[in-house]
Symmetry: C2
Subunit: 301 residues, 2 copies
Amino acid sequence: MLPFARISVIGLGLIGSSILRAVRESMPTVALTGHDADPAVRARVVTLGLADDVADSAGAAVIDADLVILCVPPGAIGAVGRAIAEDVPADCVVSDVGSAKAGVLAELVAALPGRAVVPAHPVAGTEHSGPDAGFASLFRGRWCIVTPPAGADEAAVARVCAFWERLGSQVERMDAAHHDRVLAVTSHLPHLIAYTIVGTASDLEEVTASEVIKYSAGGFRDFTRIASSDPTMWRDVFLANRDAVLEMLQRFTEDLTMLQRAIRWGEGDTLFDLFSRTRAVRRSIVEQGQDDPAPDFGRRH
Amino acid sequence: MLPFARISVIGLGLIGSSILRAVRESMPTVALTGHDADPAVRARVVTLGLADDVADSAGAAVIDADLVILCVPPGAIGAVGRAIAEDVPADCVVSDVGSAKAGVLAELVAALPGRAVVPAHPVAGTEHSGPDAGFASLFRGRWCIVTPPAGADEAAVARVCAFWERLGSQVERMDAAHHDRVLAVTSHLPHLIAYTIVGTASDLEEVTASEVIKYSAGGFRDFTRIASSDPTMWRDVFLANRDAVLEMLQRFTEDLTMLQRAIRWGEGDTLFDLFSRTRAVRRSIVEQGQDDPAPDFGRRH
């Protein structure tokens, strides 16, 4: 049995459009409605034929849905929740896909009193944005973390879990606050660092921009991929998960300061010990199928 | 005409063994000799059939060479230079492949008086180590930076440049000190940051190691690839290029502190401006063929 029959996706970028494609492929009888605040994106989704109907307002898009998934940046979640509140059917489940959960959960619960709110976070994506960047297999083999509030409707939670499993994901349930701390270290801090280092490299006077680009294969280019992710979404993620990000950043800075001191004083053993330890983490990630074991991400040589 | 006829490679790991393979493929008539300090590595190279002769000592490996390439960690360069000094033929060119050049150049010039020393740095590699990790096409389409000392024998410099072009590289000549500043930002700082963040993530108490690994697709896994590079080599690189690394690290820390403050005070515009700027750098790297344009490094989904 299908967990939902009439799904509405609000926000039709990389994630939203990938959900439309994945539902079409794995649950072809589901009725799909979509809306995006940008008329150009709406027109593109019509052209691509990703939904049965693309509505001109969020409210019109959700009016007949049994699942609404908000795929907008975290900073827009509250406003969109309030905008659809009148039109969301009473028995409809409302979810999202954002990378910061505790604040978003509180905003959605406040905006949609009496509705089943079951936030979710598919840990999947690429550095590209927009409806053309999406693809049906994006969530396959990836984790999706579901963070229902205390006292959630368990039937609604089970249906959201079943939905993500149908898209090929492995589902894990987690407290929203704990999710935000885990993602602060596995995703938000890496993005902040990558954005910073790409900025630092661009600002050097005596090393030219063309040199930075030419010799980027030594490590820098990997950071530029991460640092080309959607700016609006990432701004909102850092603001929405401020406390956990600042705490992880503080730990990172302490560790970096220790290495800085080791380099300054020529303490090779301190460096060697850390550099040996980090190899084991990589091995586990590859063993657990969370990354490609091909050298250099399988880049062509 | 071949730039060299009898090439000796000292250090037979990822880079050294890739040079042997690449020479075999592109210049099959060249006589290849090799040596590695580790007997197991020597035996493996014999089994793989990568050289005409694998010598038991560095001196014996270079005795008949017209090009010697030292592919050992920067910290071992001086000792290896002194070890082969007696046996390097008078007209032989000595080069290396290290990622830090000014200190290495001074050590080699001191160890090998009267010989033509022409250091080089192929900006290529993977996170894997050892003779089995090498492959012939590693240097193809990548940059190789040649950093001869002031007053170098120009004929020797031209031959080293021609050698790397035969392996498929694009060659650029640079002052050793400038090279070290460029690589500090495009390679050394990214590696230091990656090692740090992987260490920070491993040390958290309330987020388990299994959670870090499970949800690593959100960005963290890319850092683990870089942080699984050879620990000995990277320890030596940081110690050998201390001043430039510390300076770049200082700039990075300043920039990170500014972002930290922006997150703390909710200054979204500061974040958005940087995040938009860094996208352009990525675009240039892809346009100039220095990285794979496929989303997510072309990882399978």
